[in-house]
Amino acid sequence: MLEVSNVSKVYPTPRGPLTVLSGISLSLKRGDAVAIMGPSGAGKSTLLYILGALEQPTAGTVTLDGRNPAQLAEKQLAAFRNQLIGFIFQDHCLLPQCSVLENVLIPTLVANDHAGYPARARELIQQVGLTDRLDHRPAELSGGEKQRVALARALIRKPLLLLCDEPTGNLDQASADVVASLLLELHQRQETILVVVTHNAELASRFPVRYELSHANLHPAGT
C-alpha cells in the first residue's frame, strides 16, 4: 500500500516560503495506476520525488508497504528505494558506457540478493522488445528504445511502486505510444503501484485514475 497523508512541501525563497504541495493525501494499493497532470511548476515532480523517498515532505507522511521512509537511516533508505521503488525519468539516464543488458542490471548491483537477475533482465528486455539490442550501447538506440530500457531497468527489482516522470516527454507519438503501452502492460503483469506524472493528456487518458495538481493540491482530473 502507498499511503500519502497530509503531505505538504514548502520551499524557503528570498521572497518568503513557497508552498508547492499542501495537505495532499492519497491511498493506492498494488495494481493501481494513477496519472498526475498539471502545468509546469505545479509541483508534480516534487510530489513524485516525495513518493519515491528522494525528498522529504515538510509535513505529513508517506508510507509504502507500511514503512515510512522518513524514519529510515540513509543506508536503509537506499535499500528501501532499491527494493520497493522503480523510477523512470523523462531523460532515460542510461549509462552510456554500459550495454542494454548491463543498464538493466544496474540496480541489482547494490541489491542484497543476486538470484536470477540476468535471466530476469533478459526476460524484461524481451518484454520491451529489445532482445536483438542486448549488447548495444545507449548511443546506438533511439529515444523510444532508450526509454524502454529504462522501463526494464525500473522493473528489474520487482518494485512495489513504479514512478514515472514524463516518461514519454522526449518521444515522438509512435514511440510514446509504444512506451505507454509497455508501461501499462508491465505494470499490470507485475502488479505494481504505478504513478505517472505527465503533461501528456493522451498518456494520462490511458490511466483509470487521473489527478490534476493545481494550487498545491490534487484534484480528480476534470473537476
Partner: protein
C-alpha cells in the same frame, strides 16, 4: 549579433573552463619563461662574480718567473703584484687551507681598484671572509703561509734544488675589510689573502720584482698593451742577460735558468746572423768523474762546443794538459765520463759515456776560459770544492788536494771538451740544450736586435685578457636555461596537456552547442576558427599572467639552487636576474604551444557528424588503428633497444627514442583497449566504475599519458642515480694533490728519504704531472677554457686500471692510445665521459685546440675520478709543458683499512708541500652528488609534472562526475549509497592511475636497460615505490574530493526533467 559577440558570450559564459585553460597557458609560459630566466640568472650571476672580483682589472701581464716591478710604470693604470698559490695554516690549531690565492700588494692595489682601505703592512695579512671562516682565525692571530720558492733553475735539472721548493712566512691576521679579489673565475667563495708586497718580495728573494701586473684597459683590446709591453720589456724581464766577455771579445747570452731553450737559441743565432755576427753555442756540464783506465778526476767541468778545442770527431774528447797529466792519458786512450742526470721519472741517475781522447790542449786561450760555465748557486761562487753545496750527492772524500788546487787556480775552467752534438745528446734536457751562446764580436746592436726578435709571450711574459676570458667563461659549462627547459620539460608538457585537456573538456561540454551551430550552418573550419580565437583570447592573458609566474618559478628555482640543490652548483651566490627577452620568448613560445595544443584538440572535432554532436556523442577511434600504431611503434622500440644494447646506437638516443616509442606503443594499445568492448561484464560497483573509464576514452588516455610520462621520467632518472662506490676509483683508495710540486718520485726509497716520508709498508704512489688549469668537472660552473691536464707515468698506462666507456679504437687497454703516434701532429688525450660531454662539449674522436696545440679525445673513462681534467702521456706532457715541473697529483694504493691512518701520516710528512689527501670514493661521491642533485632536480620538477597530471586526472574525474550527475542521481534513486558511487569513481581513477604508473614504470625500465647495463646504475626500489605510492594516494584523494564535490550538489536537481 556578430561572431565577436558570440565570442565574448562564450568567454564569459564558460568562464570556469576558460579560467582553467588560461591557468594552464600561464603555467606553461611560467615554466618555460622561468627555465629561460634560470639560464640568464646563472650566467649573469657568474658574470657579476667575475666583474666584482676583478674590480678594475681588464688585463693581466704575468710570467711564471719574476720580472721588474718598474715595468708596470710603462702602463697607464697598472698595479704590480705577486700572485702565487700557497698553503695557509693557523699555528695553534694546526688547521690548514690549501690552494689559497696569495697576493702580494701595496697601496697601489687600492689606488688601482679605487677602493677605500689600507694595504697590509709589516707582518699583516688580510684574509677573505671565507678563508677566515675556514681557518677559524680572527684579527691578531698568527698564521703561517707556505709558498713555492721561485727557482730560475729548473727543479728537474741537475742543479735544481728539489728538497727546498717552498718558503714559509709568518704573518698576523688583520681585521681590516677585504673586498673580494680574485683573478680566477670561480663560483665558490674567494679563498684568498693579501700580504705586503715588499715583505713577500724579501722572503722570496725577489726584491723589486713581481710576477703579475694588473691593467685597466677600459674594455679596449689587448693590442696596445702588447705593443707597450714589447716596447718596454727588457731581456732581464725574460730572465735573459747579455754579458760582455772582454777577454774573450764576445757577448755571452745566458739565462737565469742556466739553460737556453731551442727556440731562444734559434732566435739568438738568427739575430747574430742578420747582423753579420758569429754565434757559438755552448753547453757546459759537470762530470762526476773523468776516467782513463783505473785513474779518475772527480767533479770536473766539461764543455761541449762546435769548434776547437772540442774535437771534430763525434766520439772524441779533448782534455786539457792538467787533466791529461792527472789521468796519464794520451791521444787515442779511452776516456769515460760519469755524470748525474735527473730524469723525468723523478730520480737521479748516474750515466756514463765513452770517448776517445782526440787531443790534449794547453791551459790557455779558449781552453783556459772560466766563463763557459753558468753561475750555479752553491758551486760557482764557492772558494773550495769542499765548500760546494750542490743539490745532488757529493762525495767529498774523493776530492784530493790537487783538485782543490785546480779549483783555486782555474775555478770553472773545463777540464774536457766534447763535440756539441754529443754533449747535447748526453746532457740536453727539455728545458734547453745550451748553457750559453757566445756572439762574436761584441756588438751593442745585438742586444737591441735580440730584444726586438724575441717574442715575450714565447718566453712566458704574456698578456691575458682576464676580464674577457672571465666573461667568456661565465657563459658557463652548462647552459642552465637549456637544462632547466629539459628539467621542466615534463612540467611544461603536463601544463600543455592540461591546457589541451581543459580546452577539450570545454569543447566536449559544448558538443551540443557545436551541433546546434553546425545545424544552423556554421562550417567546421569556421567553428574551429571561433574556438581557436577563443583559445587565443585566453592564451594572451594567460601569457601575461605566465610572465609573473615565470618570475616566481625562476625565483623559486634560483632559491632551490642556493639551498636544496646547492650540491649542483656549489655556491650560494646565484640570484635571479630578470630578462625581458627571456620572459618574452617564454611568453611567445608558451602561447604558441598552448594554441597548438588547442588546435590539436579541435582537429578531432571534424569528422563528428552534427547529429552525433547534438546527441553529445564522442567519436570513437577505431581500435584497429591504435593497435596498428602500437604494434609498429613497439617493433621500432625493440629495434632501438637492440641497437643500443649492441652499442650500435648512442645510449641517450637509444633511451629517449626507445622510451618515447614504448610509451606511444603502450598508450596506443591502451587506447585500443579502452575503445574496444572487450571488457569484463559489469558485476558490481567496481567493475561498473572501471567501465566508466571507457565513457570518454580520449580523456582517459590523456590522463594516463600525463601520469605515464611523468612516471617514466621519474623512474628512469632514479635508475641513473649514482652510488658512492664505483669502479671509477681504479682501485685506489686515496688520491692526493700538493700545492708545491714534488720533484722526487715518492714511490722510491730515495725519493721518500728526500721527501722525509717515513718508511711505510704497503703504500704505493702513482705520481702524475699536473698542469694547473680550469676544473673541467661538474663542480665548476664556469666554462673550462683551459682545462687541467694530467700526465700519468708510463707504467700506469700499462696497468689498465679504470673502466672506459668508449674509445676510438677497439683495444683491451685504451690507456695505451695515449702513447700512439698519430701521423698528424695531434696529441691523444683521454677524458672522463661526463666531462667530455657536458663540460668540454666534445665527442669521442673530436679535436680541440689548447694553446695552439691540437688534442684529440681518443678514449672516454666511465664515471671516473678524473672528471676535472684531461689526461695525456707523460712524454707529450713534457714536450708541451717543459716548464711545468714535478708531480702534484697522486693516486695512492694503500690497504683500505689503514687509509685513514696513512692519510694523517702522509699529510703530516708532506705538510710543507701542501699535500692534501682525499678518499677517492669521496671524490667520486662529490661528482655523483652533483649528478644526483641534477637528477633530483629533474625528478622533482618531473614530480611537479606528475602533480599536474594528478590535478588533470582529478579535473577529468570531476568533469566526468558532473557530466554524469543525472546517471549518478538515478543510481542514488535506485538505491545506491554515496559510498557505492565513491567506489565507482575511485575504481575508475585507480584504474587510470595504475595504468599510468605501470605504463610509465615498465616503459622506463625497458628503455633504460641498455644504458644501465653499460654505464651502471640501480633502481632505488624503496624510495621509488614510496614516490609512486604517494602519487597513487594523491590521485585517490583527488578522486575522492571530486566525488565528494559532485555528491554534495543536490542530485534531485539533476533528475528534474523540467
Amino acid at each position: 549579433m556578430r561572431t565577436s559577440t558570440l565570442l565574448a558570450r562564450n568567454l564569459t559564459w564558460y568562464w570556469r573552463t576558460n579560467l582553467a585553460v588560461l591557468l594552464g597557458v600561464s603555467t606553461a609560459v611560467g615554466v618555460l619563461g622561468g627555465a629561460l630566466l634560470v639560464g640568464d640568472s646563472v650566467r649573469s650571476s657568474l658574470r657579476d662574480l667575475v666583474l666584482e672580483r676583478l674590480g678594475n682589472t681588464d688585463l693581466v701581464i704575468s710570467r711564471k718567473g719574476f720580472f721588474r716591478e718598474e715595468l708596470a710604470s710603462a702602463f697607464g693604470s697598472a698595479c704590480p703584484m705577486i700572485a702565487i698559490d700557497g698553503v695557509v695554516a693557523q699555528e695553534p690549531s694546526g688547521r690548514r687551507a690549501r690552494g689559497i690565492e696569495i697576493y702580494g700588494v701595496d697601496e697601489r692595489f687600492w689606488r688601482f681598484q679605487a677602493q677605500p682601505g689600507e694595504p697590509p703592512r709589516d707582518q699583516q695579512a688580510l684574509l677573505s671572509a671565507a678563508l677566515e671562516r675556514e681557518l677559524g682565525v680572527k684579527a691578531g692571530d698568527s698564521i703561517l703561509i707556505r709558498v713555492e720558492k721561485p727557482s730560475a733553475i729548473p727543479l728537474e735539472s741537475l742543479h735544481g734544488r728539489k728538497e727546498d721548493v717552498g718558503k714559509t712566512i709568518r704573518l698576523r691576521v688583520t681585521g681590516a675589510a677585504f673586498h673580494e679579489f680574485s683573478l680566477e673565475p670561480k663560483q665558490g667563495d674567494v679563498r684568498a689573502m693579501l700580504v705586503p708586497l715588499a715583505r713577500l718580495q724579501r722572503y722570496l728573494d725577489q726584491q723589486g720584482k713581481v710576477n703579475t701586473i694588473l691593467l685597466a684597459n677600459r674594455g679596449a683590446s689587448s693590442g696596445p698593451i702588447e705593443r707597450t709591453l714589447k716596447d718596454h720589456y727588457t731581456l732581464e724581464d725574460l730572465g735573459l742577460r747579455l754579458r760582455l766577455l772582454e777577454k774573450q771579445r764576445c757577448l755571452s747570452l745566458e739565462t737565469d735558468s742556466t739553460l737556453i731553450s731551442d727556440d731562444l737559441a734559434g732566435t739568438a743565432a738568427a739575430t747574430a746572423k742578420s747582423l753579420g755576427l758569429g754565434a757559438e753555442p755552448v753547453l757546459t756540464y759537470l762530470a762526476n768523474s773523468i776516467r782513463v783506465g783505473g785513474r779518475e778526476i772527480p767533479y770536473s767541468v766539461v764543455t761541449a762546443l762546435d769548434s776547437p778545442p772540442a774535437p771534430a770527431e763525434a766520439d772524441g774528447i779533448t782534455l786539457n794538459q792538467w787533466a791529461a797529466r792527472e789521468l796519464r792519458a794520451k791521444p787515442g786512450d779511452a776516456v769515460s765520463l760519469d755524470y748525474y742526470v735527473w730524469k723525468s721519472d723523478g730520480r737521479l741517475h748516474t750515466d756514463s759515456a765513452q770517448f776517445r781522447l782526440a787531443r790534449v790542449v794547453p791551459l790557455k786561450g779558449t781552453a783556459a776560459d772560466q766563463e763557459f760555465a753558468p753561475k750555479y748557486p752553491g758551486i760557482t761562487e764557492s772558494e773550495s770544492l769542499h765548500d760546494w753545496d750542490p743539490p745532488f750527492p757529493l762525495d767529498l772524500s774523493r776530492i784530493r788536494p790537487i783538485d782543490e788546487q785546480y779549483w783555486k787556480q782555474y775555478r770553472t775552467t773545463p777540464k774536457a771538451f766534447v763535440p756539441l752534438a754529443r754533449g747535447q745528446q748526453l746532457w740536453g734536457t727539455r728545458f734547453g740544450r745550451l748553457t750559453s751562446i757566445r756572439i762574436f764580436p761584441p756588438s751593442e746592436a745585438y742586444g737591441k736586435e735580440l730584444r726586438a726578435a724575441v717574442d715575450p709571450a714565447k718566453m712566458g711574459l704574456t698578456v691575458f685578457a682576464v676580464r674577457a676570458r672571465g666573461l667568456e667563461a661565465a657563459r658557463g659549462a652548462t647552459d642552465f636555461g637549456e637544462y632547466f627547459i629539459y628539467f621542466s620539460f615534463f612540467l611544461m608538457v603536463s601544463a600543455l596537456l592540461l591546457t589541451g585537456l581543459f580546452f577539450k573538456l570545454g569543447v566536449e561540454q559544448r558538443m551540443h552547442e557545436i551541433g546546434v551551430l553546425r545545424a544552423l550552418g556554421f562550417s567546421m573550419p569556421r567553428l574551429r576558427a571561433i574556438f581557436l580565437l577563443e583559445g587565443a583570447f585566453l592564451a594572451a592573458p594567460g601569457a601575461v599572467l605566465g610572465m609573473g609566474a615565470a618570475l616566481a618559478y625562476g625565483g623559486l628555482i634560483m632559491l632551490g639552487l642556493r639551498t636544496w640543490w646547492i650540491d649542483a652548483v656549489g655556491t650560494r651566490l646565484l640570484s635571479l636576474h630578470a630578462s625581458i627577452a627571456s620572459l618574452a620568448v617564454g611568453a611567445a613560445a608558451g602561447m604558441v604551444t598552448a594554441l597548438g595544443s588547442i588546435a590539436w584538440t579541435l582537429r578531432g572535432l571534424h569528422p563528428v557528424t552534427p547529429r552525433s554532436l547534438l546527441a553529445g556523442v564522442e567519436r570513437r577511434k577505431p581500435g584497429r588503428r591504435s593497435l596498428l600504431v602500437g604494434t609498429i611503434t613497439a617493433l621500432m622500440a625493440v629495434a632501438l633497444l637492440a641497437a643500443a644494447l649492441a652499442r650500435k646506437l648512442d645510449q641517450t638516443a637509444g633511451f629517449f627514442g626507445a622510451g618515447t616509442l614504448l610509451l606511444i606503443a603502450a598508450l596506443s594499445f591502451e587506447s585500443a583497449w579502452l575503445n574496444s568492448r572487450s571488457w569484463a561484464p559489469v558485476g558490481g560497483q567496481i567493475t561498473l566504475g572501471l567501465r566508466s573509464a571507457t565513457y570518454r576514452p580520449g580523456r582517459s588516455i590523456l590522463c594516463v599519458t600525463l601520469i605515464a610520462s611523468a612516471t617514466f621520467l621519474i623512474v628512469s632518472l632514479d635508475a641513473f642515480r649514482r652510488q658512492g662506490t664505483s669502479t671509477g676509483t681504479g682501485g685506489f683508495p686515496l688520491m692526493a694533490e700538493s700545492v708545491l710540486p714534488l720533484i722526487h718520485d715518492p714511490d722510491t726509497a730515495i725519493g721518500r728519504e728526500a721527501l722525509n716520508i717515513p718508511p711505510l709498508e704497503g703504500v704505493k704512489f702513482v705520481p702524475f704531472r699536473l698542469r694547473p688549469g680550469d676544473d673541467a668537472s661538474c663542480l665548476n660552473l664556469y666554462q673550462p677554457r683551459n682545462p687541467r691536464i694530467l700526465a700519468p707515468p708510463a707504467a700506469f698506462l700499462g696497468s689498465a686500471r679504470f673502466p672506459f666507456q668508449d674509445s676510438v679504437a677497439r683495444t683491451a687497454n685504451p690507456w695505451l692510445l695515449l702513447e700512439s703516434e698519430p701521423s698528424d701532429p695531434v696529441i691523444p688525450a683521454i677524458a672522463d665521459a661526463n666531462s667530455m660531454t657536458y663540460a668540454l662539449h666534445l665527442k669521442l674522436g673530436e679535436e680541440f685546440v689548447l694553446d695552439q696545440t691540437r688534442f684529440r679525445i681518443v678514449a672516454a673513462l666511465r664515471d671516473s675520478l678524473f672528471q676535472g681534467e684531461l689526461l695525456i702521456s707523460e712524454k707529450n706532457f713534457l714536450r708541451l709543458f717543459p716548464d711545468v715541473e714535478g708531480y702534484r697529483f697522486f693516486l695512492l694504493d694503500v690497504p683500505p683499512a689503514r687509509a685513514q691512518e696513512l692519510t694523517g701520516v702522509l699529510e703530516a710528512a708532506l705538510a710543507d708541500y701542501g699535500f692534501g689527501i682525499q678518499p677517492t670514493e669521496a671524490r667520486l661521491a662529490g661528482f655523483h652528488k652533483v649528478e644526483n642533485t641534477y637528477l633530483s632536480t629533474f625528478r622533482n620538477l618531473g614530480a611537479l609534472g606528475l602533480v599536474l597530471g594528478t590535478v588533470g586526472l582529478g579535473a577529468v574525474l570531476l568533469r566526468n562526475v558532473l557530466e554524469r550527475r543525472r546517471e549518478l542521481a538515478l543510481l542514488r534513486a535506485v538505491g545506491y549509497l554515496p559510498r557505492h558511487l565513491a567506489a565507482m569513481v575511485l575504481a575508475e581513477n585507480v584504474l587510470l592511475l595504475l595504468l599510468g604508473l605501470t605504463t610509465g614504470t615498465l616503459c622506463a625500465l625497458l628503455a633504460i636497460a641498455p644504458a644501465v647495463s653499460l654505464r651502471g646504475g640501480h633502481l632505488p626500489a624503496v624510495s621509488l615505490s614510496l614516490l609512486l605510492v604517494a602519487v597513487l594516494v594523491t590521485g585517490v584523494a583527488a578522486s575522492l574530493a571530486a566525488t565528494a564535490s559532485a555528491l554534495r550538489s543536490p542530485l534531485l536537481e539533476a533528475l528534474r526533467s523540467e
